[in-house]
Point group: D2
């Protein structure tokens, strides 16, 4: 869970675990302090209550409870910031993936954000019905793509339980990222080109090579005249 | 943990558990909604992380971590309020009792409150060193007495592990409460009169007879021309 | 969670929560001592790790982990018995319901039992594929019916999220129980008669009226010349 | 928490975390399988319920509950072994350190072991009152020393919160270990020679360099004609 000081210098927005799948109060406090020191915008990374499974296991939780869980986690994280506000919310793991396919869940997540702070931005999978639901509800949404994840031809992420779901070759990760931003397409596991709009590119701070990857990606973006801005200036 | 709708009509400030010793997100959300409906001011009731022991067991936690735990819990609760603010913080159980005797812990608790929101009020045991520490740090403090707890001659609470620590006779509870407010004294278990300043009287919402007791106490106070005000108007 | 001393005198087998959805070590120890005092046979009631949801929420957990979770919980409970052995295992809540429809999960549960103690009995829903899977694996199985739960025409339980899923009228509960045992049928919510084999009738110790219901049911069974025996003498 | 396959080849007894401070069911299952594969004897490493603090924080828990917690954890671990039995119990962290100074706690730990399996061995700090208490209760005790921990002149361990509490220089660790076994003495932080009886030497599997240290120590012991035997053959 180390949001490494080296990684944080190469990103503009950080998703911080809030204790339900990882992270604890002291780690959250230090991560927020580190992010503020480097002017990195902060977002909550709320999860189902599943420490044992790192929040990656589908759970069938009542949407009203998911909503309360998100408000709880976002509130807890925001308390560590100097302005008592967050830039965005990005649900973690199974909650994120289930929201892509479950409109009721998607709606509850959006309600939680609006109820906590109507100016907050939702980070949601580009091309998903979830993005539409959020926009219809008047929520600010940033469309998200994943630097190191394989995608299906319908634009959803290949499940982590499948081989090849995570791309480990960093030059491939960089090429795919550039293509998503510059050409608006990504190649699916079936070999088809999928159109994507990319407001935000997700990197995982806890994977080996995260520091180098974040640095290379930033350098390539700058070299290719791609501006890297905080979400608040885009959405 | 039911902060009963009937009890809530007889109090002016509620201490709400924040998930570390009791309570969960959905219950917190509903309790906040109920309190706001009856214009009852809200305070966080943070605890050590000890669900198994209901937060009543002394723990030797690093003060920096206690501080982070309090900010986390206060933030989580405040997120459910319509104004995203709390009136006060009252540590629960062992954290409260240890703070009475441990200046480092007391100081960390005060720092947590000041860091989260410097306008919040601390509820702390009347007559304790903790009250002085808080005042010296510039914190708003409400001095608290307990309606149904026996006290030692030094003004500390008789430990729950001792027989007679909780007074169950409601007319005795009411007499002691009136005397604390009107005469500024309470009789200790050793039979001595202890001077107390009482800004706030603590009732436990989860004990049998809580509804009747809260109602009788309120009636007796009104009958005795004692004004019952929110903490914010006193401190 | 009180496995009430009055209820325990009217049953022959107890399902004891093992800490994953309810119960803790001290409560388990006392419950085992109480059951042994009244010669009630003991079974583990393992659950998904979901204290917040009382184990009632479907979770998508790897079967290998479910297996390990069951062995862990059964081992923990058995340690409190005087013979360090259990009579049976009955999965709780969502784990039980998902096993009825998921052969892989059903198989993992059976493997867990066989690996821990091949003489233990599985309590599984009468008429389910799960019962067949267990029998094919050489496991001792007791077919279970529920005294107070409505059933669908395919023999599965009506989900707790549906109205009418739990029958609260005790005379109806008793009539349905007698009919299941004597005639081998139960009426579904759609009004159809469903054939059932009933080795064991499940009562919930934590519902209001549990004491009276268990007593009445026992009396009616005795009056109707139905023998009530420990599972080990039936299966 | 990786009980590394390389470390396990250099030890004769393993202490396995049981989920209260670290470890979960699946990891416990795999660790037991690995240990049995290399004929390493298994012991429970029960802890206070304190995942957040890795079991290292003093807690004031009722001895009856500590006893139940130990039986629970030992039972859970034993369920994964092929013989459903453990060789020993070694309390973890704060529970271990508090037992050295608290006779009531020490006694409860011994009672838990006797109640679960009267043949099990307790691992307790050499020279402590706890060892005497256990022996008086008829428990088999192995006197334990620590390879990499500094000791006070009264034989207790220097607290982890003090600098120098853990010795990182592996040649010093080896020299101290050899001296404890061969000469029966260890030098305290105050420079005094403390007499120690060493039945067992504790290594930490999760510290950097654990593999190399365990290998070197084993080699040095063999070279010095010190036999390394399972606890069961010594006590």
């Amino acid at each position: 869970m180390g949001l490494d000081e080296d990684v944080i210098q190469n990103i503009t927005s950080a998703n911080v675990a809030c204790g339900f799948h990882a992270g604890d109060s002291l780690w959250m406090k230090r991560t927020v302090e580190l992010a503020e020191q480097y002017n990195v915008a902060l977002g909550a990374h709320p999860s189902y209550p599943d420490l044992k499974g790192f929040g990656r296991r589908n759970m069938n939780i009542d949407p009203a409870e998911v909503k309360a869980d998100i408000i709880y986690q976002a509130g807890a994280l925001s308390a560590f910031t100097s302005v008592k506000k967050l830039q965005h919310v990005k649900p973690h793991g199974a909650m994120y993936n289930q929201a892509v396919n479950d409109p009721d869940l998607a709606k509850s997540i959006c309600e939680a954000i609006l109820e906590f702070d109507e100016n907050m931005i939702l980070l949601a999978l580009t091309g998903s019905k979830w993005v539409e639901i959020a926009q219809d509800m008047g929520l600010r949404v940033a469309k998200e793509v994943f630097a190191d994840r394989a995608v299906n031809s319908d634009g959803t992420l290949v499940s982590r339980s499948n081989p090849g779901s995570v791309i480990h070759d960093s030059s491939e990760v960089i090429q795919r990222s550039l293509r998503m931003v510059q050409e608006g397409v990504i190649e699916s596991v079936e070999g088809e080109l999928v159109e994507v709009e990319a407001d935000s590119i997700c990197l995982h701070g806890d994977t080996p090579g995260a520091v180098e990857l974040s640095k290379s990606l930033k350098e390539q973006f700058i070299k290719s005249d791609i501006s890297i801005l905080p979400l608040g200036q885009i959405v």
